[in-house]
């Protein structure tokens, strides 16, 4: 039975259902409870944006606050995962990866390979990404490419409440380290979400909209932006196919290739900075694999090669919008050989 809930509630529900099902699942991070040691209420925050609220009361001893020491507690989540727990730790903002990245990319990601296949590290690191909240340069980045680059990590980036719940449940059940990236501008987005538990497998893209004139690959919040663009394009007689990869590692390149073989045109929309981005990664792969099908150069719509600015007018220029996507599609469509 489905009902309409928010992206935030869908994530909370995934955590709740998995914690109920598996006593090894523990949740911790900065203010994941909020209030530890303080004179006022416990669960005062339930996460900085309220995503983990209510879990503390339901699962005593399994939801914890941490001091602000990411290396220690993200590392602890990783170590605990090798020791029989299934931790879901929160790296509050993806921008903070710098203070704990070694534990993620040199330890968790490499244990299985370095130890000859004998390690299993079922850790999930939840983290917020993306611009739009006027949170400025150090709280607004889209650093998914950094994690996607690392062998041994998996990366999921849901674009809607239904995918958020299914991908998080999949992540928690996955025996490999997973970075679960929640777009901070999507927490209020509502959508139909089944009450029961379900899993969305990693490495399976979602075809959000079908069309035969152009393939638009979009990630996270950009899926909604692409959908907006597609409506306006349809009015101009251009039917866009929108593909949401859902996970950037593993990446479902086959679905993208199949679409490009049909449309002949690719536009990739990625909020991150352009160098070594998901856009350039997907673009290069498609150029290599489907060169013969392309009727126009691949278009990449990304942020600029700058930090995210604070002023709302500037931040709005940073973030790819529907008009930029429409412009890119028209460039591809109007291209003549």
């Amino acid at each position: 039975m489905a009902r309409s809930i928010s992206y935030r509630e869908a994530i909370n529900e995934a955590l709740d259902q998995e914690m109920a099902r598996d006593p090894r699942v523990v949740v911790f991070g900065e203010d994941n409870v909020g209030g530890t040691g303080s004179p006022g209420e416990m669960d005062a925050w339930g996460g900085v944006l309220g995503v983990t609220k209510g879990l503390y009361g339901k699962y005593p001893g399994r939801v914890m606050d941490t001091p602000i020491s990411e290396s220690a507690f993200i590392g602890a989540a990783i170590g605990a995962a090798t020791g029989g727990l299934r931790p879901v730790a929160e790296l509050m903002f993806i921008d903070f990866l710098g203070v704990c990245f070694d534990q993620i990319f040199n330890q968790a990601a490499k244990f299985r390979y370095m130890f000859g296949g004998k390690a299993v590290t079922p850790v999930v690191i939840r983290t917020m990404w993306g611009a739009g909240l006027r949170a400025a340069a150090q709280h607004s980045q889209s650093l998914l490419p950094v994690f996607t680059h690392i062998p041994g990590l998996k990366v999921a980036a849901p674009s809607n409440p239904y995918d958020a719940k299914g991908l998080l449940i999949a992540a928690i059940r996955d025996d490999d380290p997973v970075i679960f990236a929640e777009h901070k501008m999507l927490y209020e987005m509502t959508g139909e979400v089944p009450e029961e538990s379900y899993v969305i497998p990693f490495g399976e893209a979602n075809i959000v909209r079908e069309g035969s004139d152009v393939t638009i690959v979009a990630i996270g919040r950009m899926v909604n932006t692409a959908t907006e663009a597609a409506a306006e394009l349809a009015a101009a007689g251009i039917e866009a196919e929108i593909i949401d990869p859902r996970t950037t590692s593993p990446l479902d390149l086959d679905t993208i290739l199949e679409s490009v073989e049909n449309t002949g045109r690719l536009v990739v929309v990625d909020e991150s900075n352009p160098r070594c981005s998901l856009a350039s990664d997907i673009g290069a792969s498609v150029a290599h694999e489907a060169f013969g099908s392309l009727r126009a150069p691949i278009q990449m719509v990304t942020g600029p090669h700058t930090p995210v600015p604070f002023a709302d007018s500037l931040e709005d220029l940073f973030i790819p919008d529907a008009q930029k996507i429409i412009g890119a599609v028209k460039t591809a469509v109007d291209w003549s050989k």
Binding site: S71, G83, R112, G116, G117, D176
Partner: protein, 331 residues
Amino acid sequence: MTGTLPTTVSQELGPDALLQVYRTMRTIREFEERVHEEFASGDIPGFVHLYAGEEASATGVCSHLDDRDAIASTHRGHGHCIAKGVDPKEMMAEIYGRATGSCKGKGGSMHIADLSKGMLGANGIVGGGPPLICGRALASKQLGTGGVAVAFFGDGASNQGTTLESLNLATVWNLPAIFVAENNGYAEATSSTWSVATDDIADRAAAFGMPGVIVDGFDFFAVHEAAGEAVARAREGAGPTLIEVKFTRYFGHFEGDQQLYRGDEVAQAREKLDCLKRFRARVTESGELTADQLDAVDREVATLIDSSVDEAKAAPRPAASELLTDVYVTY
């Protein structure tokens, strides 16, 4: 004879236990001395960092641990591996990069691990271990296994943020963890008397709300006693301890290090302080063991090390297909 050494000894060290720990220390010593020779002949790929001289630390601590317990090590990890029960033959094969190695040849000296024995791996990142140990301690606590987790780290790592954060977290979360700072006087080529701001690393314990103790790292019995107290504290839920072990390493930071930064402390230590010599003197003087018993162990260990090297050299390299395996459980 299998290469794996049983590790747990009772607090009361009877003759069997004494012989067992002597075997452990002798195995580490001969293993490292042999790797030193073999490396010089050019057969061993990559980097090795030898633990010779420090045997009492790994042995004294690990003698209180069993398979419930986890340890994390450093780039200088061979001693911790042997003390925790990792098979020396598999270790030697791993150092040579062979398919029969502990990690199928895919890890090497700095990443030898055996998770079935709670050995989380030697670690190529200074300070990489302490956060992982907080995690293993958390898992033991949550799952009620009664296990403890021990982070071995050096004087270099004692300054790394990850270590300091882990000390704090272990106290705040009241974890069954033990932090063993192996202060051998040098972080690579730089002296710890210069790089550590206080006289002793153990001074940091109070700053993070846990007891700190300093022990003579050349004295197995001193390490054994301090470690026993720390492990008991942890097992009974009284929280973490920081033990600072002071000694010196007999070889360079890595094999090939000309060690121009050192004085004559190694010659002095080998002559007057050596943990194996002191152990032998003490147990033979007290009559707990005889010289013959110890000599027999020495011969058995020599045979073990010889066959480890012979077998490692004869073992195949990993198949080409191994390049692409073991990245994920599923992908």
